[in-house]
């Protein structure tokens, strides 16, 4: 039932808005709205109950193991939320003067410094609002750098074929052509193909390391050398930073620019699809181009760095400071981890992934890269099950919901047929991983005995499989009832 269907004309939560309408006769009549907008007319309790019940129709980290590969669905500590939502912080206007903002700006400055350290970068800007915006900022800086040197022949960005779809979409938004580089059978970038592809037209390469295939790119130093020798720059997609946090730094691998997904590695909430935060870090030569605003410090006084201080900046990504409240959550999380805790993130994320990999292999599942270590995630391929039992990765995914597990990422990366990309994260306990393996084994048995059980799954959710074709053909994007 929709909130609109609880509506009764004239019903109101009167405690929540001014008692009376004010006079608007000073405004021209032709500028005024002729009728009240058609929003729900419900009591406060009805709204509270409706949305509480809707929340209960969601899987979430707080209620279910959520091994969604490449999304790092780790515990979002409650304290990070509570202390980022202190009344003073919520009430601060983005244009409050520096004199009334020193406490807030101290948090941002310290976060910048910590992120510099864990990435090995020279300078960090926190302002991009999400991973995709961080990516955009990164590639826009590469372009600004070449343009500033009048090196305008560089029209191409190299992207491995295993890359996430945002990479080519971003390069395109920055006005670049995209050239794909193939991946070899072991999951590494094909170095010979890379060498053949680079040249005076190469603006840069976008890489994720560990890659989207769940393995560490072992020849990263050679890739860096190859691209740099051709005059290109290296962009690091921080989607998988959780795997190497505090163990290896993108700056040391030779990357010139990186974006981080704070909603992954730094545990800020995914919120049903945002808000995220996508800070960018850069090497010395790209520092002048960072997006603004940033926070500077001088003798314990914090100040805003704007386009006045950084005339070569690629500019602003949003009206104010990006997702400031998300940055505060990441700051609190980073302080609670501390330097040792940060290194443990990568260690235990990797331990959990390799343990899950070992258990699933033992249980008879095929791995996409059986000779490789898992990083913080790995890929199971159900190609065999599809051929022999006629069940797909999607069927497994839907049946997992019945067992109370959110499905791993399916059908990404596109290179591996019938894949499940599994990322347990460091915050899951051993018995939860064991429970997931047991569910996978049971589902495999079901696939042999009664494949319909999978094909018809899920059976226990508020709805069964939805008609996607109807949703797209007969678009119903807003309720038309009253």
């Amino acid at each position: 039932m929709l909130i609109f269907e609880h509506s009764r004309p004239g019903r109101e939560a009167t405690a929540q808005s001014p008692a009376t309408m004010a006079d608007l006769s000073d405004l021209p009549a032709n500028q005024l709205r002729s009728e009240k907008p058609g929003l729900p007319e419900v009591s406060e309790l009805q709204a509270v109950r409706h949305y509480t019940r809707l929340s209960q129709k969601n899987f979430s980290i707080d209620t279910n193991f959520y091994p969604l590969g490449s999304c790092t669905m780790k515990y979002n500590p409650r304290g990070c939320n509570t202390y980022a939502m202190l009344p003073g912080l919520l009430a601060r206007h983005p244009y409050a003067p520096e004199s009334a903002s020193q406490g807030y700006m101290a948090c941002l400055y310290e976060l910048q410094e910590m992120l510099k350290d864990v990435t090995g970068m020279k300078s960090v800007s926190l302002t991009p609002a999400a991973g995709a915006q961080g990516e955009f900022a990164g590639v826009a800086m590469i372009r600004a750098y070449h343009d500033a040197r009048n090196d305008t022949a560089r029209t191409e960005i190299l992207v491995p074929d295993a890359a996430h779809g945002t990479n080519p979409a971003t390069a395109n938004m920055c006005g670049y052509e995209v050239r794909e580089i193939p991946t070899n059978k072991e999951g590494d970038v094909d170095i010979e193909a890379l060498k053949a592809a680079v040249g005076p037209q190469t603006a840069g390469i976008m890489l994720t390391n560990p890659s989207t295939l769940g393995v560490f790119e072992r020849k990263i130093e050679e890739i860096a050398k190859t691209v740099h020798q051709a005059g290109g720059l290296l962009y690091y997609d921080g989607a998988n930073l959780n795997a190497i946090l505090g163990k290896v730094r993108p700056g040391d691998m030779g990357f010139d620019v990186i974006h981080m997904n704070l909603h992954k590695t730094f545990s800020t909430p995914h919120g049903g699809g945002g808000p995220g935060a996508g800070p960018v870090g850069v090497s010395e030569r790209l520092a002048p181009f960072l997006p603004v605003p940033m926070v500077g410090e001088n003798n314990g006084h914090y100040f805003w760095i704007t386009e006045k201080d950084k005339p070569q900046s690629i500019g602003r990504m949003s009206a104010f400071m990006g997702n400031a409240g998300v940055l505060l959550r990441a700051y609190i999380y980073a302080r609670m981890l501390g330097r040792e805790g940060m290194q443990r993130v990568a260690e235990y994320a990797t331990l959990n992934a390799n343990y899950l990999l070992a258990r699933l292999r033992e249980a008879g599942f095929d791995l996409a890269f059986p000779k490789r270590r898992a990083t913080h995630e790995f890929i199971v391929t159900l190609k065999k099950q599809k051929k022999e039992l006629d069940v797909t990765a999607m069927d497994f995914a839907k049946r997992l919901l019945d067992y109370g597990y959110h499905a791993p990422t399916t059908y990404f990366p596109l290179l591996v047929p019938e894949c499940l990309l599994i990322e347990p994260t460091e915050s899951e306990a051993k018995e939860d991983l064991d429970g997931f393996v047991e569910a996978m084994v049971k589902i495999h048995e079901e696939a042999k005995d009664n494949a319909e059980l999978l094909k018809e799954a899920p059976h226990t959710q508020p709805v069964r499989r939805l008609d996607d074709v109807r949703a797209a053909r007969e678009l119903d994007l807003a309720w038309t009832g009253s």
Binding site: D468, V469, A472, R473
Partner: protein
Amino acid sequence: MSDVPSDLKYTKSHEWIRVEGDEATIGITDHAQDQLGDMVFVEVPEVGAAFDVGDACAVVESVKAASDVYSPLTGEVIESNEALADSPESVNQDAYGDGWIMKLKLSDPEELEELLDADAYAEFCENEDH
């Protein structure tokens, strides 16, 4: 095996072409619609638009994919299949009939020599599957 009518010409990007004089009707093949799955939307070109060989001229969209359709020939659009706006499923149900996308007035009939015949296209699809 999908349907490959012998009286049509084909491209490696899975368009079919029916030639009548200096006009050509163009659509996507049965094999292509099968790979893409249930169509939910087809964007057809405007009448009067001019295309070179290989230009993106239409978009076919299923739930899982959106693909460009490439003009197999040089020419000007003299008719496009507006009915697909309401019934994109025609591409699935009748790829070589009601599922046609556009008609071109050809500028260079010699280009027809470059197209695949039914046997060559069937063989191409066979190889692509492996």
